[in-house]
Structures are given as C-alpha cells and as structure tokens.
C-alpha cells in the first residue's frame, strides 16, 4: 500500500484491479467491480459453449452430404445440442449476462455509491451461480468409459445429456431417461442466484443513491436494471417451484403435470411461461438501458423524452407479467384466454415502440460519432425493430397457429435475444471497456468485427424467417430437400457470426492484457457519474462521494466541465 501512496503520479494510484493481489483476493472479493469480472469470465465461457452447440446444429443442418441422412451428428446428439444451446445460453449466459456483469459494475458507480447494498450477498450470488453451472454440466454429461464409471454416473443421476429443449415441457420431461433432474435442479439454483442479484440491486437503487441523485435523474441504464431486478425477484420463484415439482414427479410420482396421473401438462406451461416470458425482459431491458446510455453520448444530445423512456421500461416490466400464455395459443387454452393474451401482447409493442422513437429522435440532428459502441447501438435499433414487428405477427392468433413451432419463431426469438440482448451487451462492453480496464481498444478492429457480427447475424436469421414461412418446423433434425438452400445460407451466416463474436471479444481481451494506450477518465465525454472517476476506478469508486446537481444527459448545454464544448 505505502509503495503506491509514495508515488505522486495520478495514474499510479491503486485502483480496484491492483489494490489487492493474488487469486485469493479475487475469490473472496466483495467489490462489485471485481464480482462483475468474475461473472464476465464465467458467462463468456458459457457463451462459447452455447455457441459451439449452435454451430454443431447448423453444421448438421447444412446437410452437405445431402438431406435425409446422417451427416455429422446423429439425431439424438442433435436433440442434446439444441437443449444445451438453449439451456446454456438462457440460464448460464444471457439471464445473468447484463445484470450481473455490467449491472454489477455500473449500478453503484452510476448512482454515486461505494458498493451495492449487500456486497457479501453479491459474492455469494456468484458462488451459487457457479454451483448451478456445475450442476448444469452434470445434466449435459454422457456416461461413458468403463462399466464401473457408467454405474457410478447412473448412481448420481447422470444418464445422458438432456433432450427436452430448454423448456422442459411436461410430460416428456417426466418420462425421458436423460438427466432432467440435474438440469432442472441447476436451473433452480441459478434462479436463486438471479433472485439474490435482483434483490440486491433493488435495495441498492432505493437506499444508496448519492445526494442529489433523485429518481428523475437516474441514468436510463439504472432504470433498465431496476425494472429487470423487479422481474428477477418476482418471476424467478415461480419457475423455481415448477422445476421442483418436475423433480418431485420424476422422483416420487407426484402427478401434478402428468396426464397419466390426472395431472395437467398445460398447468406446467402456464407456470413455466409465467417466469419464462418475463425472463426475456430480464435479458432485454438492461440492453435497452445500454442503448439509452450510448446514443445520447455519441449523438451529443440530451436523451429525447427521458420520462417516456423510463415509463416505457417500467411498463414493459409490468405488462410483461400479463402476457405469458401467448406461448400457448395452440396448447389448448380457451378462446377467451387466447383473445385476452393476444390483445395484451399487442400492448407490449407500444412502450417498446416509444423507446425506438426516443432513440431515433435523440439521434436526429445530433453530431453523431460512429465509434464501435454507437455502431452496436444503431445495429440494436434496427435488429430490435425487426424483432418487435415479427413479435406482433406472432401475437395475432390466426397467424400464430400457422407460425407456431416453425423457424419463424426461432428467427423472431433470436432477433430479440441475440439482436437485442447480446448486441446490447457487446455495445456495452465496448462502451465501458475503457472504464473497466483502464485501456483503449483498437477502434478499427472494433468496427470490422462489428460488421462481421451484424452481417453474420442477419445472414443466419433472415433465411430462417423465410424457412418458417415455408413451414419448416423447429427442432427437426432433417428436412425436405426444398429447404436446403436457405438452411445452407443460414449456416454460412452462423459461421460468420461466430467468427465476428470471437474476434470482437478477442479485440477487447487483447487490449485489456497487452494494450498500451491508457484510457483517460472520460474518453467519450459523457456526463454520467461513472466517467467522473479515474479509469479504472479506485476500490471504493469515488475519492469523494459525488453530489448530483443536474440531469445526466445535459449534452449541448454548458453544465459540467468540457463535455459541453462538443
């Protein structure tokens, strides 16, 4: 410690990355910024695992040796692959993806706090997450090797990779011989981690705002994270008990979801989607927040309609709880219920469209700088508009009967979650990278890799819209020859997409480790609080607790420092 204070230079002051050293100091840290990095490493590993599963599927579906036959993987492996892809991407990557990483890092910084409300609970959530991740891996293992190994693995409930899809629909999830118990138990544990993170964030935002940081001055990212945290806290317990009931059915023959025992599989779907529809807003609301931060800074204009943006986030979180059965239009729900859920689902489009209008209006007549984060934000707006409009198609009852379980749904979903949440996460990582690492990334490499991601993504999923319209059902291992061309284009796109993500993340990783260009405290001339402290921030974020006197988005008006000069 004393060695640092002896050095007079500003950049030699200890920061959160180096004020303590050694692996142990990381594994026992309660600093929200370090916990962000712990999460980030973990989720990126699972992003890679889930991506590999997707590539394996796409490789098979290209049917390079012809349709109607086994090319690279067999049908059972294919079933396991789409389950791995779904479960890993949803439960291990994108649900904690933005809240637990950027949310953890930025929330206290943006509201001028020293840490989250419960720092030890925050670290505990990460450990629970890691335990859940290990349990999920048990659900993916295949018992192989000598007989005693197989016996031992069967004994602990490892029977082979789960093949139910990430939705674990009953009654198949009760009957299949694969390791459903490990996977559902893992999802339960991961949900617990998610609940504790959400709870921690709600309390932090309520209680730890700096003097002057009133609710109507909160950055939109904080609002997005707040809305997300409410959903994490209130929706997750319901899927928790649902998955526990699946385990009880498998273990003890309780028949709540099993029609053979007088149970109702539609009840499973209701309970499952009561969480799993709001969960898409857990993924995408923080991404809305990221875009809402990036666009004003790179357009040098105040965010257009701050209050509308905020109310839209909160409305989406609330209405998101009331639309779950639009996943079940063909599951045998009553006509009256179907009409209700269809109409309310149209309603979600309103606050979402409000947001898009606000972002575009913020850019209107701004002096736009096309840095990599801005490219991601603009890509987000385009992709999310496609996602939103196709979502409205699917809310139409008659249309959904046709599109249900086709590639149209797959494409729509990936536009929202990859085009929305993942692109948002990438934009956020590029935007806050200088703050997190204290280094600058290579801008040219950032733009080129953005282009690969953007083109690759569209090339993958535009053909899937077409496939869906032509009637290609999802989760099928094989198809008629008429679908082959579009499938092959989609596979080519997936390869470009994967290459883009890999290189884009390597660009950041390279800059973090080998980068020579030090980041200034505020490279983007932003007005929000996280940029008013050194990069990387010191252990307790601010040397003096900041006092907030104005809007976070007062660009173009001379308020704070040199930022107004632009």
């Amino acid at each position: 410690m004393s060695a640092y204070s002896a050095a007079g230079e500003a950049n030699a002051k200890p920061n959160y990355l180096n004020h303590e050293k050694g692996i142990w100091s990381w594994l026992t840290t309660v600093d929200h910024k370090r916990i962000c990095l712990l999460y980030l490493f973990a989720i990126l590993i699972f992003f890679f695992v889930g991506g590999m599963a997707a590539l394996a599927m796409r490789l098979e579906l290209a049917k390079l040796y012809g349709t109607g036959q086994h090319n690279f993987i067999d049908a059972e492996t294919y079933n396991a692959m789409f389950t791995i892809h779904g479960a890993v991407m949803i439960f291990l990557f994108i649900v904690p993806g933005i809240p637990a990483t950027l949310g953890n890092f930025l929330l206290p910084l943006m509201i001028g706090a020293k840490d989250v409300a419960f720092p030890k609970l925050n670290l505990f959530s990460w450990y629970i997450y890691m335990v859940g991740a290990c349990m999920a891996l048990f659900g993916l293992l295949k018992p192989i090797g000598p007989a005693f190994m197989e016996k031992a693995m069967n004994f602990i409930g490892v029977h082979g990779p789960v093949d139910t899809g990430w939705t674990f629909y009953a009654p198949y999830s009760i009957e299949t011989g694969t390791s459903v118990v490990w996977m559902t138990a893992a999802a339960f544990v991961l949900g617990f981690s998610s609940i504790l993170t959400g709870l921690n964030f709600i309390v932090t935002i309520h209680k730890l705002r700096a003097p002057g940081m009133t609710w109507d001055r909160l950055p939109v990212f904080v609002w997005g994270t707040y809305a997300t945290a409410v959903i994490q806290t209130l929706a997750t317990p319901v899927v928790g008990i649902t998955l526990l009931l699946v385990i009880m059915e498998r273990g003890f023959g309780v028949g709540v979801f099993n029609p053979k025992l007088g149970g109702d599989p539609v009840l499973y779907q209701h309970l499952f989607w009561f969480y799993s529809h709001p969960v898409v807003y857990i993924m995408v609301l923080p991404a809305f927040g990221i875009v809402g931060e990036i666009i004003p800074v790179f357009s040098r204009k105040p965010i257009f309609g701050y209050k509308a943006v905020v109310y839209a986030s909160v409305t989406i979180a609330v209405v998101g709880f009331l639309v779950w059965a639009h996943h079940m239009f063909v599951a045998g729900i009553s006509e009256a219920a179907a009409i209700y859920f269809s109409v309310v689902t149209f309603g979600v489009a309103v606050p979402t469209a409000v947001k898009v209008f606000n972002w575009v209006s913020t850019m209107y007549r701004g002096s736009i700088r096309f840095n990599t984060p801005m490219l991601y934000a603009m890509g987000f707006i385009f992709l999310f508009m496609v996602a939103g409009t196709t979502g409205v198609y699917l809310a139409v009852l008659a249309v959904d009967v046709y599109y249900h379980d086709t590639y149209f749904v797959v494409a729509h979903f990936h536009y929202t979650i990859q085009g929305g949440a993942v692109i948002g996460l990438m934009g956020g990582l590029y935007y806050w990278f200088p703050k997190m690492s204290g280094k600058m990334y290579n801008e040219t490499a950032g733009k080129v890799t953005w282009f690969l991601v953007f083109v690759g993504f569209n090339l993958t999923f535009i053909p899937q819209f077409a496939l869906g319209m032509e009637g290609m059902p999802r989760r099928y291992y094989d198809y008629l020859p008429q679908y082959q061309n579009l499938h092959q284009v989609s596979t080519a796109g997936a390869v470009i997409n994967a290459l883009g993500y890999t290189l884009a993340l390597l660009n950041l990783g390279w800059a973090a480790v080998f980068g020579r260009v030090k980041a200034p405290a505020n490279p983007w001339d932003s007005l929000s609080l996280e940029w008013q402290t050194p990069s990387p921030p010191p252990h307790e974020n601010f040397e003096v607790t900041p006092v907030v006197t104005g809007s976070t988005y007062a660009y173009g008006t001379p308020v704070r420092g040199d930022a107004a000069a632009h």
Binding site: L234, V238, G262
Partner: protein, 222 residues
C-alpha cells in the same frame, strides 16, 4: 488500509452497530429490512406455484379432495397452528426486548420461538408417520391398490409437497433464529443495533403466515 479497518472494528462496542464501509447505520438498517421484505415476496411466489396447483385440482376433483382431506387429523393441524401462532408472538416479543435493550428477555423469547419450531416439527413428524402407517404414502400397499384412485394421490402428493416445503422453511427459520439467539446471548444487541432480530422475526412470521393458509386449505376446506 487493512490496519485502519482493524482500528475501526476495535472501536465497535458490544451493543453498537457494526462498521459498514459503504453506508451509514440508518441506511444499513433500512436496507436490511427492505431486503428481507423483498425476500419474503419471493417466498410467497415460490409457494404461489403450489397454491395455484392446489386451487386448480381442488376445483377439478372437488369430491375426491373432500374425501381425501378427511384422512387428515384436524386436531394435529390445530395444535400446530396454535404452536406457530404462539411462536410468532414470542418472536415479536424478542424484537420488542431487543429494541428496549433487554438482552436476557430477547434471548429467552428467541429460545421459546425455536423450541416451538421443534414442537411443530415433532407433531408434523407424528402426523407423517401416522399417514405412512395408514398407507397414505407412495409405495405403501394401500397407495398402490386400485381403490386408492389417482385423485387421492394428487391430493396427498400436493399435501406432502406443500407441508414438506413449509417444514423445510421451519427448519431454515430455526437455523436463522439460532444464529440470532447465539448473538443475543452474548449481548450483541441493544436499542442501537437489533436488525438481525427484526429480520429473523420477519422471516419467522412468514413461515407462520404460510401455515395459516395451508392449515384451512388442507385440513378444513376439503
């Protein structure tokens, strides 16, 4: 830096609030309470899935659930309700004592609360054993006989899931209160610092509250 932390830690007296580096004491108090209230909301939603399932099948298999519920002994249920209500009362007394800085009364009431938890579990255990000996448990002869229709199994399946999860919460609550009790016995709490007693008691009230709903639903409404 670490040296200065130790210095502050040493300044904390036996009844003082702990030194928390990132917020002041009133904020820490409010945060802890808000956090516990949110956690209680998640618990209610966790049970909510079971209550929904029960409501659905109670409606669908009204007659059968009526017959099945007669197998439950309402005397055990009532006694357990009284035991839990009383324990909630002593938990509230423990909070009152802590707020007034009476460590002895606080720990005494906590101990009574924990003892009531034990009593509840013992009575529940007697009930479960009784059910098993009457063949109302998966795997017994009566359970597997054709007269024991699947609607009965549904009723008892839900009965075991709901009361079992509740019993698990009783155990967790007792663990939490034991931790609080050990601190209270050492005189850790005072009128300046009592938040663990308060959040512990809040959790215990929830455990009680859930039972208040389970008891009439399972034992009486049928």
């Amino acid at each position: 830096m670490s040296a200065s932390h130790h210095a502050t830690a040493a300044e904390v007296g036996p009844g003082d609030p702990p030194h928390i580096h990132h917020m002041d004491t009133p904020t820490a108090y409010q945060s802890a309470k808000l956090g516990m209230w949110l956690f209680l909301a998640t618990e209610i939603l966790l049970f909510g899935g079971l209550f929904t399932s029960f409501a659905l099948y109670h409606w669908a298999y009204f007659e059968e659930f009526h017959h099945a519920s007669k197998e439950l002994n309402w005397v055990y249920g009532s006694v357990n309700t009284v035991v839990l209500l009383f324990s909630s009362f002593t938990a509230a007394l423990a909070v009152d004592a802590a707020q007034r800085g009476d460590s002895r009364r606080c720990s005494k009431n906590l101990l009574i609360t924990i003892a009531c938890g034990f009593l509840f579990l013992i009575i529940k255990g007697i009930e479960y054993t009784g059910k098993y000996s009457h063949g109302l448990f998966p795997g017994t002869e009566r359970w597997n006989s054709p007269e024991f229709i699947q609607e009965y199994k549904m009723y008892f399946g839900l009965y075991y899931c709901m009361t079992g999860l509740h019993a698990l919460h009783v155990v967790l609550g007792m663990g939490l209160l034991t931790w609080v009790y050990l601190k209270a016995r050492k005189g850790r709490f005072s009128s300046r610092y009592f938040v663990p007693v308060e959040v512990g008691a809040l959790y215990w009230h929830l455990v009680d509250l859930i039972w208040i709903y389970l008891f009439p639903l399972l034992y009486l409404v049928g």
